[in-house]
Subunit: 345 residues, 2 copies
């Protein structure tokens, strides 16, 4: 009878906060530990996976551990719905159903739990997706920090769409559906009492309607990616890596709201590394750029859509993201290493 | 901008450990807080839900918070697979795909995480179900107890099967696929250092093959239920409630291994309330009882299958479970109130 844990790693190696930050450490954990255990192959890591033998159905799962539970613009309940709906949308899928699993710390105010669940329910109804099943576990005081929510979503791909992180091609236009940096700075400002809460609200929102508006582009829509953990820098690096291309971004074109810039300045953060929960990068064929921008701007959640860059051939440097700065210099934007903003989603 | 949590409940009310125990408090939380927030209707609460618009696909989700992570007979990784596969199986479904979401405490040994994931991967391969997507979140030291896993499963119902907690009818035979009490007492004994670890191992195992063996029964297979949290008492009470019947159980027929009985004696637990992770109750039409027992006993995981009782008409007491004791007395088996065994799964 095995009761001892069969450990093979040197004892000193431990999980760091950065392993959950969506950057290089996360990729290492995934490639070095998680995928080998599951017999997974290396390949593009998508936001949602095709369900085997089920045609156009996709599945995604996400744990939400954001602290505090309520922040300007949202809360863990609405975030859990939007994050999962968006992961489906990034595969070109409309949401069909959600499941919700709660891990609750003993002693959490029931009224608070109720408020979170009400917000979650409202967000789901707003998207038009039913919560069809769930689970609740309670752990003792001190064994969890108040409330964690894991949401899993099933969606159906829109006909003709098959965006993939591996789909970018030289010449493609790189669009952004709205300003960056709002979610991460809103949460951090609230948590640390920095006083930006009056000026900054999370951008948490569902993106599936924007994706539906892009559906007429068909296979000229190459990549959809929402820059959550690790921010725009991580999202673009993943696409550059999985597509084997260079992505060239014009710094002046990237919309950073002034309060976000001020908060990042104070905190020593790069806005490109800050998590977002309501915008996405869209890669389209060159001749589809104008139509895509018009489609995005036709909806309230896409009024701020802009073109921020272009896809270039690899030229010996596949996987590279380059920023053209305001003064004309060019600098490489690396994958963020680890954790700048723990428990941001 | 809402940053305050809009709480409606009196401040004193808090989540108790018992709210996660699978008994009456869990039902109260579900019916009073969770379902209203999601706009859910009262009705049979099944282990897995039908995916809307997707024919015969079902979905289930489960959080695993067991402590310790390794216990006699299993670990949190294999348990996470078996528990989810079994929830699908209880709806008559074979597993198609799993997702795995990890919440990890900063500082967890990487080798331990690897061992858990390896076990999870092996369990999934054993069942023949792929892990197709996942998520990893890391929270700071003290914000979680080492490792929580939330597994979501998608399955396809076997043709002709539609077992439901509401499907029991007077006259049906009540079967049990194997002995009860092993999982809960194994975990608790390890955790509390009671010294039963040498005699008791968790029964954690997948039940989908047993269900496939029962498939030829078609609609004569009425109910499948695995008695996890809350034990056999909770499972039978749920079926009695959702089917509006009385369930009559013969105490002498319920298999309780002697070490389980001894451990329960020491701990002051009722074996009927102790969680299981590898047996199930099966309700079948009277003329199918022998065929069902033969089918169960044809597989290693069902060699201990027995008939433990019968379904009786409600007679003014729908929802009641009655135990005929060894000395011929009859006592009502209530739904367990709350938590006897926190973090057992």
């Amino acid at each position: 009878m095995i009761t001892e844990c069969p450990v093979t790693r040197p004892e000193g190696e431990r999980v760091l906060l950065g392993h959950g930050a969506g950057g290089r450490l996360t990729a290492e954990l995934l490639e070095g530990t998680v995928l080998p255990a599951f017999g997974g192959r290396a390949g593009p890591l998508e936001d949602a996976a095709l369900l085997p033998g089920s045609g156009d159905l996709v599945m995604t799962t996400d744990g939400f551990v954001v602290s505090p539970l309520f922040f300007p613009g949202g809360d863990i309940g609405s975030l859990a719905v939007h994050g999962t709906v968006n992961d489906l949308a990034m595969r070109g899928a409309e949401p069909l159903a959600l499941s919700v699993a709660l891990i609750v710390e003993e002693g959490l105010e029931l009224g608070l739990l109720e408020a979170v669940l009400r917000s979650l329910g409202e967000a789901a109804r707003g998207v038009g997706v039913p919560v069809i099943t769930g689970d609740t576990k309670v752990v003792g005081r001190g064994a969890a920090d108040r409330l964690f929510i894991t949401t899993t979503g099933i969606g159906r791909r829109l006909p003709g769409l098959s965006p993939s992180a591996a789909g970018a091609r030289p010449g493609d236009a790189v669009l952004l559906s709205g300003p960056i940096g709002l979610h991460g700075t809103a949460v951090l400002s609230t948590r640390e009492g920095l006083g930006f809460e009056a000026d900054i609200a999370s951008d948490t929102r569902p993106l599936h309607r924007l994706v539906a508006a892009l559906a007429p582009l068909g296979d000229r829509l190459r990549v959809l990616r929402d820059p959550t953990r690790g921010g725009l820098a991580a999202a673009l690096n993943e696409v550059a890596r999985d597509s084997g291309v260079v992505i060239d971004v014009d710094e002046r074109a990237v919309p950073v709201p002034p309060p976000v810039a001020a908060a990042c300045d104070l905190l020593g953060l790069d806005p490109l590394h800050v998590a977002n929960e309501g915008c996405m990068t869209v890669f389209v064929a060159p001749d589809a750029a104008d139509a895509a921008l018009a489609a995005l701007r036709s909806l309230p959640e896409g009024t701020g859509a802009v073109r921020v860059g272009d896809v270039l051939p690899a030229d010996g440097h596949p996987g590279r993201v380059v920023l053209r700065t305001a003064v004309g210099a060019r600098r490489v934007i690396d994958m963020p290493l680890g954790e700048q903003l723990p428990r941001i989603c």
